[in-house]
């Protein structure tokens, strides 16, 4: 066990104060922590509504379109951020169009799956047309948490603040429309408009998160902390706060573990958050 820990966690002195100081002595690590914090707060808030609205599959599909956006931007020679936001916005609109109000559950899931598969197929097409980034495919899909510049970190903070403010402003009607859409519609809440706007905000936030955790692992920050929070409490405000707190802890711990080891940050973030989720489910089943 001892030799195993040494070979996996290089440079860890097991003195917490020294370790944190070592961690914060590198600018790239500070940027990663800033960006990770912004993403975690946003993913905690938006993920909570996503889980409440049972739109996990839509969130996953949008995270997949982020990969398409990045590869399309690479092929067209425009900045990657433009590709992310453009394609994720389009994906959100396509999903909203595909899941009309009178569709059944099964046709909605078929439509979502088809949109996702098409997005991935196009992404792969762009990557193979643009031979240069074939080696970067893994980083497009799985993220490069540790290569973030200070400018990127500032952009991420701005987008995170904007989307949290938008969701916060619409939170009461959104909550009503999510819990009981029929009654909300009868009371004059614009349910369809809210649904479309939420998908758009979800798409944009997924686009933002993708730049850091990669398209496939966005999901870990969006869904798992929110699902854990909803296992613990049904009260909305406490739930959102808890979801944000879990996302923050998971991101910080994951980043720190990745700094001291040779394995990717995505693995640690998903594993820590899944362990928390499994633990809460187990505790709930026992009590």
């Amino acid at each position: 066990m001892g030799t195993f820990t040494c070979s996996v966690f290089t440079g860890l002195s097991w003195n917490p104060v020294d370790d944190v100081r070592a961690l914060l002595s590198y600018p790239f690590m500070v940027h990663a922590l800033e960006a990770g914090t912004a993403v975690a707060v946003m993913a905690g808030v938006i993920g909570w509504f996503m889980v409440l609205r049972r739109q996990t599959f839509a969130g996953h599909t949008l995270s997949v379109t982020a990969f398409t956006g990045a590869s399309a931007a690479g092929l067209a020679g425009v900045p990657v951020t433009v590709g992310y936001f453009g394609v994720c916005g389009l994906g959100a609109l396509a999903l909203a169009a595909a899941s009309g109000p009178r569709r059944s559950l099964s046709s909605e899931s078929a439509a979502t799956g088809s949109v996702g598969a098409l997005a991935l197929a196009l992404g792969f097409l762009f990557v193979s047309l643009y031979h240069g980034i074939l080696n970067g495919l893994d980083s497009l899909l799985f993220g490069t948490f540790l290569g973030i510049t200070s400018g990127q970190a500032a952009t991420l903070v701005a987008v995170a603040v904007a989307s949290v403010v938008v969701v916060g402003a619409a939170s009461r009607p959104l909550f009503f429309a999510s819990v009981d859409p029929d009654v909300a519609e009868a009371r004059g809440v614009p349910v369809r408009l809210l649904g479309l706007s939420f998908l758009l905000v979800l798409g944009l936030s997924v686009a933002e998160t993708s730049q850091i955790t990669g398209a496939l692992l966005v999901f870990a920050l969006l869904v798992t902390p929110a699902a854990t929070a909803q296992q613990i409490t049904a009260r909305p405000l406490a739930g959102v706060a808890l979801s944000v707190a879990i996302a923050l802890v998971v991101t910080w711990v994951g980043l720190a573990l990745a700094y001291f080891s040779i394995y990717p940050v995505g693995f640690y973030v998903t594993t820590v958050s899944f362990a928390l989720y499994a633990l809460t489910r187990l505790l709930r089943a026992l009590t």
Binding site: V51, S106, L141
Partner: protein, 282 residues
Amino acid sequence: MLAHEFMRNALVAGSVVGIACGLVGYFVVLRAQVFAGDALSHVAFTGALAAAALGVDLRFGLFAATILGGLVMGALGDRARPDDVVIGTLFAWVLGLGVLFLSIFTTSGSGSRDNGAAGVRVLFGSIFGLSSQDVWTSVALAAIAVAVLAAVARPLLYASIDAAVAAAQGVPVRALGLAFLCVVGIVAGEATQAIGALLLLGLLAAPAGAAQLLTVRPYAGLALSAALALASVWIGLTLSYVFPTLPPSTMVVSTAVAIYACALVCASRSRMRFWPRRMVHA
């Protein structure tokens, strides 16, 4: 085109995978379990990479992971129909594990460039690289999956459409759901070799979704779904053969989604003809 052996292999394996995906996909869509199918395809990715990192046969890891994944998801869900939050949480973690295995695999091998390409092959398939032995394996597996599905088709249909009434009549709804997820696991593992872990969802969801838009009769729908999936594979492979820059899996999935889009348009137009007055009033 048929003179090349790789093309013949690709067509045979692709047809078999297409028929299996079309038939299984029909039930997947009917049960609104497309997300579970998606999750199983990502499980396939992790399984294959785990096998690669540990140095065992890729196919062993693939099928062990998908069948196990199907069983776990069935066990977690109520009546073996897992909630999408449960699926999402589980497979976010499975993907994290996949990333770990990918990094172990790419850093451990001597030729790391080849190893990185292996990861891409698992994600997006390599249908033109199948040997004739691979083709026979996939024919045998598809036959097993289709036979199991045919054996349980009637009760599964009942359980999918109205689980509560079926359970009251003594249909073993839970066992059926578990068996079905296992079959989906087998098909997902098989399709991963042909069109890749990330794209098999298109072949699972799009032809079946189109078939359900075009007919409500179950057996006609099953046949139509298999036929549409088969057509997507053939058209996609031909396109990719004629234009070699276009990857085959992309062409197969794009064809399937294009067929689905056509079915959406047809279905909404026929609905307009059927209720002209209501559309005007609305």
